[in-house]
Symmetry: C2
Subunit: 129 residues, 2 copies
């Protein structure tokens, strides 16, 4: 299970790498690109299906000038073809102005498809106050 | 799997019923009360382990006068002894003043222990704007 946990964490890293590179093609390779998936961006309403999720990433990427993640892992769990990771996204980002730092809590759920862990749900939420 | 999905939804309902009743003993029966679990209340930092999570519920219950949920299900998935539900919590609540309405998005992850689905992770996040 250690090896499988390692693969799950690699899939999680690939997700944040695609986000840093603002690369929609890479993002498409880390998600399970079906209409079954879900995504909750911090403060947004629930998005259902890859069409809506892809649109959201394209919009986010268009408005982002710089994005860097330092991920703190809290836990990774696997059962069968389902796995999840809870992590803290320590973010340095710029949307045109000076860079700022903030933290987002994320629950990322993955399904194994043809031997590869693919994201089926991302839930990011802001730390308030 | 339909039967198992039904049991998962029942466990999810029991969680919100315990919350509505502001009943810490009931809440303890729906969670996997180990130090492995996590909880992210809307806007809060990540809580680790039942001791911290129980304390948080006691604090929330103490400050809540009235709590009512209308849950809209988005999806429920199971693989082996792991399952999750993504839902919208449509809430009517009072903390002493007049009742107000708001919505929270939740990802609830469950593990089957001795034939019973128990919560191992709750991630609630506010809808902003």
């Amino acid at each position: 299970m250690d090896g499988e946990n390692g693969l799950l964490k690699k899939a999680n890293e690939a997700f944040y790498r695609a986000f840093e590179l603002l690369d929609i093609e890479r993002m498409g390779r880390v998600w399970d690109t079906t209409e079954e998936i879900q995504c909750i961006h911090p403060g947004w309403n629930l998005l259902q299906g890859w069409t809506a999720v892809r649109d959201s990433w394209e919009g986010i990427f268009k408005n982002t000038k710089y994005m860097e993640f330092r991920i703190t892992y809290s836990s990774a769990h696997i059962s069968g073809d389902l796995g999840y990771i809870i992590c803290v996204e320590n973010i340095t980002s710029s949307y045109g102005g000076p860079a700022s730092e903030n933290s987002i809590l994320a629950t990322n759920i993955f399904r194994k498809r043809n031997g590869l862990w693919k994201i089926i749900h991302h839930h990011g939420s802001p730390l308030l106050e």
